[in-house]
Symmetry: C2
Subunit: 231 residues, 2 copies
DNA sequence: GAACGTTTGTGCACGTTTTCACAAGACGTC
DNA sequence: GACGTCTTGTGAAAACGTGCACAAACGTTC
């Protein structure tokens, strides 16, 4: 049982999206949903939804669909969201404050368990209802609340130091918002969110579009077809 | 020439990372670099670096490596970063302000060309050096500066409306920070950054680790696999 | 209780991405 | 200018992810 079948990374990345949609549907009293409907809402194709959900087990009913509440429960269980995870934020600058103040943080199974910064001027102030403490107290904060997830919201140059401090404090999962690749020991997971990278990917597509339009005065508009993102 | 060889999406996503590293190396007077070194700094493997760079052309020198400055130029060109892209931010809340104030925005080829919000109380205030204007002026802002990239930093419920407004204003690339799937017409690119999703992915790994540890007093440790990030 | 419409779960083929492995080219040395 | 060392560039294999298509299962209706 503990040797649960491994879920592909691509599926793991989509489950949170399904979860959010299903929770929303549940809130508006939708009790069952088909893979087709869920796919539409998630912006993916129905076969993918079914395959993804099949990794959780055979929780659908043929000819009917999936029971929303049950699915929510199963996804939450699989993602480890049956309890609330406290996270610690390193860096109380613009980004750190925005993250701390982010609503729908708590809704999704996370609470801000602490914020630390290296700058004494910021220590003591309260952001998102949590008092900023000094970086040197990180271990204390982490241990007091048994925190295993850390978020790095420092400038790029401070990111590796923040990562080291988090690891030293006992954190085993890190979400890095700084524009730097951080190195961590094996056994520690790292997620990355880099604003500039995302924008640069968009710029690439944007530029291709422009080049394509320049190159061909005759290509015309790609006609109609409903929706879907990304091009 | 406009029919440039298509670069795989996975590669496009890594080029910005190489670009940042190479720029940093250039700043500290490193003039040439091998795929091995670049791979180390980017946290990927050397063969991948070489294959990625090979899509740009054969710009390396065998037995020597790549010339940093030249590579920087080529990647910038390929990503369309030879000129600065103005972006418009929709939503001047916590996240919008943090984004507007984000340094290393300008460094990477982007400037905040405008911020709009639907809330009159926020209109007129200045964040990140830019005055917040009303959502109704979006088209005007977009057209005045010929903006093609928009960033959605609204609450989830307002995201689709923001997307529609951006598209109506003529924006063709959107980066969505709201926790909602948005629908756009074909021909518009969408990038997504969802904080909660990233955290939930980490929670999954975190929970697996815990389960693995619990489940197996005898299963032993998975042994080798010196991996880098993510476990 | 059989026939029918619906929707799941999944085998299979296809496309994309990663990794390996090595020939080809560049440089330095004698 | 031949040799050895280094590092790129790239075929080919392996791994991974996606989407189709359809049998199996369910509920409903008559």
């Amino acid at each position: 049982m503990q040797t649960r079948r491994r879920i592909p990374e691509a599926t793991v990345a989509r489950l949170p999206v399904y979860l959010r949609i299903l929770s929303e549907q549940f809130d508006i009293d939708v009790t069952k949903i088909s893979s087709e409907e869920l796919a539409e809402l998630a912006g993916v194709n129905a076969a993918k939804v079914r395959k993804d959900l099949s990794y959780l087990g055979s929780y659908g009913t043929r000819g009917v669909g999936y029971e929303v509440e049950f699915l929510v429960y199963q996804i939450r269980r699989e993602l480890g969201l049956t309890h609330n995870w406290p996270v610690v934020i390193v860096g109380a600058g613009n980004m750190g404050q925005a993250l701390a103040g982010y609503n729908g943080f708590g809704d999704r199974g996370f609470t801000v368990g602490g914020i630390v910064d290296i700058d004494d001027a910021k220590v003591g102030s309260v952001v998102g209802g949590v008092r900023v403490r000094h970086l040197s107290e990180l271990t204390q904060v982490v241990e007091a609340r048994n925190i295993s997830i850390g978020v790095i919201a420092t400038p790029g140059l401070a990111a590796q130091g923040a990562a080291d401090a988090l690891v030293a404090a006992g954190v085993t999962s890190i979400l890095n918002f700084a524009p730097t690749v951080i190195n961590v020991p094996p056994g520690v997971s790292v997620g990355k969110v880099d604003l500039a990278v995302e924008l640069q990917i968009l710029a690439y597509h944007e530029q291709r579009r422009i080049n394509a339009a320049k190159g061909s005065s005759l290509v015309s508009v790609p006609g109609e077809s409903r929706r879907r993102a990304s091009a």
